[in-house]
Symmetry: C2
Subunit: 289 residues, 2 copies
Amino acid sequence: MEKIGFIGLGIMGKPMATHLVKAGYPVFVLSSSANAAALMKEGAVLMNNSKELAGNADIIITMLPDSPEVESVLFKDGLEHSMIPGSLFIDMSTIAPATSIAIFNTLQQKGIGSLDAPVSGGQTGAEAATLSIMVGGSETAFKRALPVFEKMGKNIVHIGKPGSGQITKACNQIVVGLTIQAIAEALTLAKKSGVDIAKVRAALLGGFAQSKILDLHGQRIIDRNFKPGFKIKLHRKDMKIALQTGREVSVPLPGTVVVASQMDAIIAKGDGDLDHSALALYLESVSGL
Amino acid sequence: MEKIGFIGLGIMGKPMATHLVKAGYPVFVLSSSANAAALMKEGAVLMNNSKELAGNADIIITMLPDSPEVESVLFKDGLEHSMIPGSLFIDMSTIAPATSIAIFNTLQQKGIGSLDAPVSGGQTGAEAATLSIMVGGSETAFKRALPVFEKMGKNIVHIGKPGSGQITKACNQIVVGLTIQAIAEALTLAKKSGVDIAKVRAALLGGFAQSKILDLHGQRIIDRNFKPGFKIKLHRKDMKIALQTGREVSVPLPGTVVVASQMDAIIAKGDGDLDHSALALYLESVSGL
């Protein structure tokens, strides 16, 4: 079994790495946080630094907040110099597609493979090992990583060239954000008009307007349950990546701009830790509800 | 069986009225169009004017393009004066909720019941008798109409008070329009980035971004099939009703405004007869694709 270095043991990384340990992979970790301690109880091995971790690992997985953190681990902490030629770097963070492409190009010159493999499904999906995984990179690298992915997710799609996993994740976040906006506008209009929003949700779910988001977030809005789930401020970060990519390839994203600016208003109010379904709360508040 | 007067034998009204005739209802029609002729072959009876139609009907159904046409039939052609007390007026057109409420109030004073019962599902749903029907009005009137609705649709929901059927339809059109916008922005970003949009659709369908629209319209966009379906210019009319209702109850609808203005751009180009999934064509064209 390939030896795995896992960097980034947050609310996503901890359960993902735990699945790998439990599946019998030798897993090496860096941080001495509480999450790392829990993982070490399962059998993970603590390394002193990224050089030591890289020296022990066939595959290094990162699960970090954003592009700068991934770049810092690779290029500032020197991971790029410590990785063994023939090893594979898999970044499962959601970062800018352009950064993923730059990482691929840099590591390729050193004989190190690289995949961008962002996930969708949140903490629940990470814990249940049912994440969707969108993968960009070579077919060879994808096939090597697939057994590892299968321990963490269910819907695993090799999209294509390096960066295409991140592009797909950006698309996913655009669709999720705009669909929540759609539900929020519809249910706010119904509510302010004095119409039972539970009946509106039921009627719409039976027709062309059906979506997983109308089902789950529609219910959240009815129940006034805005506990995350997926935090507004994290979704806003993903919208930044989508808008930045749109600008790089000259694709205007007028709906995404609207949703991102509403997220900014919610964050400005101090509510950035609420679930992203709280887009409805914002619309309600500016509607005098 | 109740005798039914049916006004508005267009691409929706014709198949809907045909189901009623075939179910054994006596159906009276007004127009002497080709559609009416086809319906008369099935057993519908042609009336000379709305007064004669009203004198024969227990239930009058209208299926017309917009609010002014419904108001014209009722108030200008004098239907309101010809309907028999105790009869029931069912407007299945998509019109302004405020107009539906005004109609309800006017007819109630004459002892005539009234329901707003707009549908979703398009020509295909009308022909297959699988329309979603969203109904506003009294419980008594809803129960009386239900056997008739069941000949034309499947997902029949009594939402609540008069006008609430139209509010729900406006919500439906907001959600459908914004979800198409979401898919269009995502797939245009992917396409311009050189990523296979069929794989993006497949990856997103397996996760939280799933929707009937990603499934059906995503496939249309991949297949370059923009034959209606549901025409942009008709959806634009429904967005007008949604925005007008938003203004009346002071609910800002920023996403709906974006989608409506893109529909205007498509109509200005002369493409208003394309399917509403052609929102993607607009985004592609302004992205230089």
